[in-house]
Structure formats: structure tokens, C-alpha cells
Amino acid sequence: MRFVDEFRDPAAARALLATIRRLADESGEHHKFMEVCGGHTHTIYRHGIEHLLPESVELVHGPGCPVCVIPMGRVDDAVWLAEQPDVVFTCFGDMMRVPGSRGSLLDAKARGADVRFVYSPLDALKIAVDNPAKQVVFFAIGFETTAPSTAVTLVRARELGVENFSVFCNHVTIVPPIKAILDSPDLRLSGFLGPGHVSTVVGTRPYQFVPKVYGKPLVVAGFEPLDILASVAMLLTQLREGRCEVENQYSRVVAEEGNPAALSLMGQVFALRPHFEWRGLGFISQSALRLHDDFAAFDAEARFDMPGVRVADPKACQCGEVLKGVLKPWECKVFGTACTPETPIGTCMVSPEGACAAYYNFGRMHRDAAQLVGQPAR
């Protein structure tokens, strides 16, 4: 119980753990719950939560880390864009180190490309305004959490009449990969911890198909250790009571209807792509966004004659299995040896929300500690 000390209210954590233990014992079954969001994965490893849970309750990681799901071909396209004459290529810091087949954006920068990390897409727009002689491209990635920010930036770019700004759009949506995982025969899940911040935008309704079509409960969860424990207890309670619903543990931040302003902006600026490739998961139909025709003037894929080649993920990389929750990070053959946060082979080792990076940074410590105190490592 040593990790409980880090929690913001140890008494509450203990009470929740007792509830979880009781429900797990009463159920007598083994339960696998998938935490969809990389933010949850980070919290779980950071606080050693998996070792506090009874052995019959297992948390598996899902595909909700935006950096992790970008396939190699898109990284290569980004590197190609960055190396075009007079281009300033802008991206979030995490994307700089994702390896492509000709190295990462950081490598492109070392070769002389003008690659800059930005905190916000609005920063990229500012660079465009300040450098009218350059073509400024923003590498847009992320789920519905981040897509509205790109949408506002594009609306702003149009208002300001900025002509040297474009977006390489790689936004993805949260529901299709959840569906893909539910359709895949690899994994038998008892329920889901639903993503928190994505849900501030989309609300809780898009998840209704999880109980309705697939008969699994889903609880939208916050990011603190107590949120995770409370959500696990809520999932077990539903199973115990024979209920199967979408519940909102994070109602202090997530409204049921989400953020209507953000959703309507996204509707104006984006359109669904017929299909999109996900790292390790293959092509998933209607799972990603492109710029709406009204914003075609800002679409990097239209402005530049991009090669758009499809590249297979590196052979050694088992990120696909990790993203589907089929493999634990340490079960990948190159984990911690050839693949580390300093020299990542796969995407899951790059972002702090990636399961491999989170486990590399925190998990091993807790796993060793758990073994020391005689708890089985899982």
C-alpha cells in the first residue's frame, strides 16, 4: 500500500480499493478494462495503480495517445514537407522525435530544414504572419481534444487573410478505434475507462454504442489516481448490478453534451476522410479528418505535391499490439534495449502519454517494488 501515500486523499483511496477488492472477489471473474487515453496510462504507471488493484482486475492500454497512432508514412510526408524550399515546418514538441524511415523531424532539422516546435497552432499562425516570404506549415495531430484548436486557428487565418499558412491535417477521431478494438478478436474486454479531455469536446453520447451494440460498460474518467480508482469501482459496480451504461465519473469537467461551440467549429472546418491509416491498427474507415473544401486553400496536402507514400512500420516495432492492449510494453522484444525514450523505434516510446515511455519512466520502478513487497507483477 506504499503508493497510496502519493494520493491526494489516502483514506479515500483506501476506501475505494476496499470496494474494488470486494466487488472483484464477489465477481470471481478476471476483468480486463481498457484505458483508452494515454493521459490515463501515464497516471496509472506514475502512481503504480496497477499494483494496487486485485490480481483479477487488469488495466490494458488503448490507442488514445495521439503521437503513438501516427503511421510512419505520415512522418515521412512531414519530413518531406519540412525539406521543401522556403518552408517553415511547425509541430508540437513530441512529434519532433518520432522516427520516420528517413529519420525524424529533428534529423531533418539537423540536415538544415527549418523545423520549429510550437506550443499552439496559433503560434504557428503567428510565425506565418511574421514571415510573409515563407510557407509556414503546421503538422496537426490529435483527437477531438486538439482538433478544435486547429479549427479556430484556420478560421482566424482566413479572417486575417494569411496566405502563406497551411495545415498538414492528421486529426483523428476517438470512436472508430474503440470500435476497431471491440471488433478485433484479440482481446476480451470487460469495459472501458473513457477518455477525459476528448470528452470535454465530444461529450458522453458518442460512446453509447459501446453498451448498446457491444454490451460493455464505459466510464468517462478523470486523470487523478482517485479518478481512476473511482472509475474502476464504477465499472465493477455496473457489472455486479447487471447494468451496462455510459457513466461520467469526470462530470466536474465533462458535460454530457460536450462543447457545442467546439463541435460546430470542427463541423465547419473539417470533413471526414473515407479512411485513414493508424499505426499498428491499419486502415480504419471514417476515422480521421481532412480540411473541408471551404478551407482547401489552407490544406498542405493540396498546396504541395506530396509523395504520400505508404511505408510499413519497422519490423521490430510492436506498437500495434501495445496500442490494442494485446501486449504490455515490456513484452515488446526491443523494449528498453534497442527502443528507449532517447532512441525510440516506435511511437509509443516518444510521447510521455505513450504506454512504452510511461512504463519506461515509471513502471519498472513500481513493478520492482511490487515484487519486493511480494505482489505478483503483471
Partner: protein, 90 residues
């Protein structure tokens, strides 16, 4: 990058363009509040800040507890504040 960090609105600097000055852990930068245009925050309100945008209003207690929890994430937190600090939005 998916981290949402609580910030306190200092001033709505440009209402027409939905820009506000926000204080995140002592660092003050400009963010966009356009995603909250239907329920505009006011000075001293707390919001969840993600890539330069206010995503949701949150109450003060939630904000303080979340900040404390996020601060425990170590480098993920300091990297986020550093990135926020680098922001040039005007």
C-alpha cells in the same frame, strides 16, 4: 501534449478576437477563449488550458487539486509549462 493544465483568467485582452491573458503556475500568456464563446469566462475564472486554448471552465477547488496532481507528473508538467512559456500568441 494532451495535458490540460488549469489556468486563471487574468484579463480578457481582446474580446472581439476572443483572446485572454491567463496565468498558469505563475506564467502569464495569451490564450484563445473562442471555444468557450457561448459561456465566456471572466477574470479570476479558472479554465483548463490545452495547446493555447481554454477547453472548459472549472471551479477553483478542482483547479487547485488538478494543478497539484499535474505537478506530480514531474517532467511532463515542467515540459508543458516550458512550452506554454514559449508561446507567442498575441
Amino acid at each position: 501534449m494532451c495535458l490540460g493544465i488549469p489556468g486563471r483568467i487574468v484579463e480578457i485582452t481582446d474580446p472581439a478576437n476572443h483572446l485572454a491573458k491567463v496565468d498558469v503556475s505563475g506564467v502569464q500568456r495569451t490564450i484563445s477563449v473562442r471555444l468557450l464563446e457561448k459561456d465566456m469566462p471572466e477574470p479570476d475564472d479558472w479554465v483548463l488550458v490545452h495547446v493555447g486554448f481554454a477547453m472548459a471552465k472549472i471551479d477553483e477547488e478542482e483547479a487547485r487539486l488538478t494543478l497539484a496532481a499535474v505537478a506530480q507528473l514531474g517532467s511532463a508538467y515542467t515540459d508543458e509549462i516550458e512550452a506554454f512559456d514559449s508561446s507567442q500568441i498575441i
